[in-house]
């Protein structure tokens, strides 16, 4: 009898699932109504032995409750369907777009740079954009009349009290001296900010641009640490399989000096238009902090060593987004800016 009831319930529920509103009452009549099948089975209980009867009764009642409850659920669903006599939506119509703004691609890139360096303990500090010659050049081992000054075409700021001394920083490197003067090693900082060069603007040069300076000074900092740090950075921003190579260069405030190149993130190193078919992309200038710079801020250069690097933020953004002209950044055309939201 148990099997008989279970089979009946299964059959009834299966049938119920496809029953339309008009046929629901008929279903009820056929299964749980006075002359329905379940009722018929209940009637048969009387023929069972007294020992079997209580269990069969329980089973039959449970089955009735399940069927009644399923009937009510089905009725609710079917009624809701039939009462909402809706017209179908053309789901391909566009959504209502909330008006949202966005961050400038340079800000986005700066945030990413900050985040990556924060992960390895570099603190971001601010430093003045209007600087003294002393910090921009002299404390960086670039005395007046040094031929290396030609490497930085400089905007000077009129200051009758100190003529020729106030300028717009040409790089974020003055922050090196400012931070070291105020702090004892160990040092791990980056200084993002705006820099200025007195030069004509073209597709790859801006007179106003952002740079991020990095500086680490301690008793055991090496060029290998520099390479590793840059590799960490390149991988975080441009993909896990980036490699760094370094080659010789010259900056008055580092010795040894180097340029770092990153394996091309577009072609992976095979050579393409982006990397000028070399497989490598120039990333930044760097080096070990020059002994004269360390001594100039009162550090013992035999005890401490450090590395420094400086990278152009627009350049990083151009590489990431495939932007071909640096002048886009400060034209602030919404059709450009909104591409990065």
């Amino acid at each position: 009898m148990q099997d008989q009831i279970e089979q009946l319930v299964a059959r009834a529920l299966e049938e119920l699932a496809g029953t339309p509103a008009a046929d629901l009452d008929d279903w009820r009549r056929r299964y749980t109504g006075r002359s329905g099948e379940l009722t018929g089975i209940l009637r048969g209980i009387g023929k069972l032995s007294a020992g079997e009867r209580p269990l069969a009764g329980q089973l039959a009642n449970a089955a009735r409750q399940r069927l009644e409850s399923a009937f009510e659920d089905r009725k609710t669903v079917v009624e809701a369907e039939s009462s909402a006599d809706v017209e179908a939506i053309d789901v391909t119509l566009p959504g209502y777009r909330p008006v949202v703004g966005g961050l400038h691609p340079v800000t986005q890139t700066l945030r990413d740079i900050r985040r990556v360096f924060a992960n390895i303990g570099f603190r971001a500090v601010d430093s003045p954009e209007v600087e003294w010659d002393e910090y921009n050049f002299e404390k960086l081992n670039i005395p007046r009349d040094h031929p290396a000054r030609d490497m930085w075409d400089t905007f000077f700021v009129d200051n009758p009290d100190r003529p020729g001394e106030m300028l717009l920083r040409t790089h974020t490197s003055p922050a090196q001296a400012r931070v070291m003067e105020q702090t004892d090693p160990p040092i791990r900082i980056i200084t993002p900010g705006r820099c200025y060069r007195y030069e004509d603007v073209d597709a790859s040069h801006e007179a106003t641009f952002f740079q991020v300076e990095g500086l680490a000074v301690d008793t055991n900092i090496t060029m290998a640490d520099l390479r590793g740090t840059l590799e960490y950075f390149a991988r975080a921003l441009f993909g896990e399989d980036r490699r760094i190579r370094i080659r010789g260069s010259y900056f008055p405030f580092t010795e040894p000096s180097c340029e770092a190149e990153m394996s091309c993130h577009v072609c992976g190193g095979d050579g393409c238009r982006v990397c000028g078919r070399t497989g490598w992309i120039e990333m930044l200038g760097a080096g070990m902090v020059h002994p004269d710079v360390l001594e100039g801020v009162g550090y013992d250069h035999r005890k401490y060593s450090g590395f420094a690097f400086g990278m152009g933020v627009e350049r990083i953004a151009m590489l990431r987004y495939g932007i071909d002209d640096i002048r886009h950044f400060y034209r602030n055309d919404l059709r450009f800016l909104r591409q990065f939201n």
Partner: protein, 821 residues
Amino acid sequence: MKVPLIWLRDYVDVQVPVAELARRLTDAGIEVEAVESIGASWDRDRVFVGRIVSIDPHPNADRLTLPTVDFGAEQRRVVTGAPNIKVGDRVPFATEGATLIDAHGDGGPLVLKPAKIRGVESSGMVCSALELGLGEDHDGILILPEDAPVGTPLVDYLGGDVIELDLKPDRSDCLSMIGVARVVAGLFELPLKLPELGSPRDDRAVIPELAIDIRDPELSSRYAAAYLHDLTVAPSPHWMQRRLEAAGQRPINNLVDITNFVMLETGQPLHAFDQQKLRGGVIGVRPAEAGETLRTLDGQDRKLTPDDTIIFDGGGAVALAGVMGGLNSEVTETTSEILLEAANFNQTRIRNTSRGMGLRSEASRRFEQRLSAETAEYALRRSVHLAEEIGAARGVDLWEDAYPGRTEPVVIEFPLSEVPRLLGIEFPRERVIDALERAYFEIEADDGDTIRVKAPDWRGDVTMDADLVEEVAVMIGYDAIPSTLPRGGVVGSVVSEVDHRDEIVRDILAAAGYQEIITYTMSNPERLRRVLGGDGADAVDAAGARVGERFLPVQLEPLKLVNPLRAEEDSLRTTALGHVLETLAANLRFADRDVGLFELAKTFIPAGAELPEERRVLTAVVGQQLSSPGWDQRREATFFDLKGLAELLLRRFGIASSDTAPFRHPTFQAGRCATISAGDTLLAAFGEVSPATRALSDIDEPAWALLVDVDALLSIADHARQFAVLPRFPSVVQDVSIVVDLDSQAADFVDAIQSAGGEVVESVSLVDEYRGDQVAAGKRGLTFSIVYRDALRTLTDDEVATRHAKIVRSLEARFGATLRV
């Protein structure tokens, strides 16, 4: 600096592919900027040195001729329009199939095909410099030297790779072929071959007397002179011309070419004086006297100062030292004896003079950089030797030599432990020593841990052990250095409060629909004052004056640049509003709605002789048309959009109580602008931009602006948040609509409702303002929604009604408000 490989290979037999040479040099810090391949497209089997055998007239055209050209294998007759050839000339000759440059078309490649020109078959072509890619000259055929070997592939005679170096100021030793050759020899472990000088074969019995008078060794550490006579002016030999031309120097004649050749070869600039024009048997170096003048070789009269250095003879100035010769001692066709100068001058003084006068040359460029005084003697000997070798002159190579500034070689005590300490890798000591020796450093002593190293005279950039570490890295290769991360570190926060605040501010503005922009920090005073919309000084009240001082200090004289690129960018901005409005105007030209922009950037407030205050201000603007939900639904921006934005910021920084008050300032439309302050601290100003200000920024629709002092925001920010128990009993909401005076302030009613209602008033919010016919003139209707709730029980209807009535009475009594029905 252009280095032709045929010239470089005179001194070092480097045979690697040019790409590899370029890479190795670049890796060593001698950056190869470009590799130029002269004649890369000249097919060895199709472009030759030819000789004009005969020239026949063209039967059908007066302007054309029919030269027959011998190019070794055979002779061919071609058609040409070139006017400059004659029988016997050596010329470049191309046969069919050769790739040339299309001189008459777009300058692209052109493959030569047989052609009939005005009825005559032409089976080849005599070529101009332009057609060969050798320059712009297309006036005639390129005439080659008389000794050009007929039948030789032209690429062997004129072609070759040239590398162009972008030298950093430390490597002035590489401003010469020999200097580059030394580096190449060291990198590739090849021997260096310097030119043999022999001894001059001068048999002249009497040479003139010469005294050299260096007034101050600070001006000139060395002044040496050679004496040349028996001059035979002629074109230089092909090998010299070819090298000069490939290096970017136009050959002139053998005497001029020798000075240029030796300068490029050794790095030592040379200057030739007409010896017979020099007076008094003396030549010397001194500062110019104030007011002294000299007519230089370019015919200009130069007014000199004591900061300029001159060469003088018995009669006065004869040259501007290191920069340009004087016309009074110029070498001309009639010159028969030459004093050839090889000197070393104070680099700073040369630099200042050449820059001051705008006279920069290959010579002054070298003098401006570090130049070894040792080179002077070698350069003179080489010059005289060359002059004799090519038959240009005979001479005395070291006629006189004054060397008061001789210095001792630089010797450095070099602890070898510095290499691993700075590079992070330990090399075997033999490798370190080998690297230094390949760079021509001498190991004078070696006690195991420390070596004593003598730097070569041309490496004035090397003065300390860190420099030697770099030499080791360069010679062994930077790529040997491994990658590690710094050990240890710094404990403490890596994100500053200021950066954190800026992130929050930017995120809020972006979420509210505003796009961040970054504009230039340069402006000019007139441009800055445009935000005032003209001269509106009388329209300022006390609150407006504070707004002006904090956010729009455009009456202050801004910091001026000494050397601006453009007049409209000659100062540092004191406010960003002008630039932001200009950007709004530019974007409104194509975007018809939702142009909300903001910039969070520094402005520069002058501080007298000190560095300026770099003040961070948030500047946000929005145009009139805004989208509302729906397709193509829009609404107009209002004062309340900006106020809501400001309130959102304040709330985010936990500033609970603030006052909003009107002000008058010409940048804003009076009656539609307000400040937000907390106590005495001015936080923000916002409102509709005045029509005059808009007009000066070329914005022809209403616009709104918000200025926020983010530093003040940070100084009073309260990031603490306090949990409040969620209500357990229901609230009752009742509205009250009142008619009040037009010049009343809504905030006063809110306060009054709160105080009259007491604790059961949970909140009061304005839900409507009505102005119009349904209220009396001078009045407006306000509707407030009041939420009543008791934290401990459910309020009854009676209790709410009683409280509500009390509030209404209070509004009537305090403000003369009447209920609106």
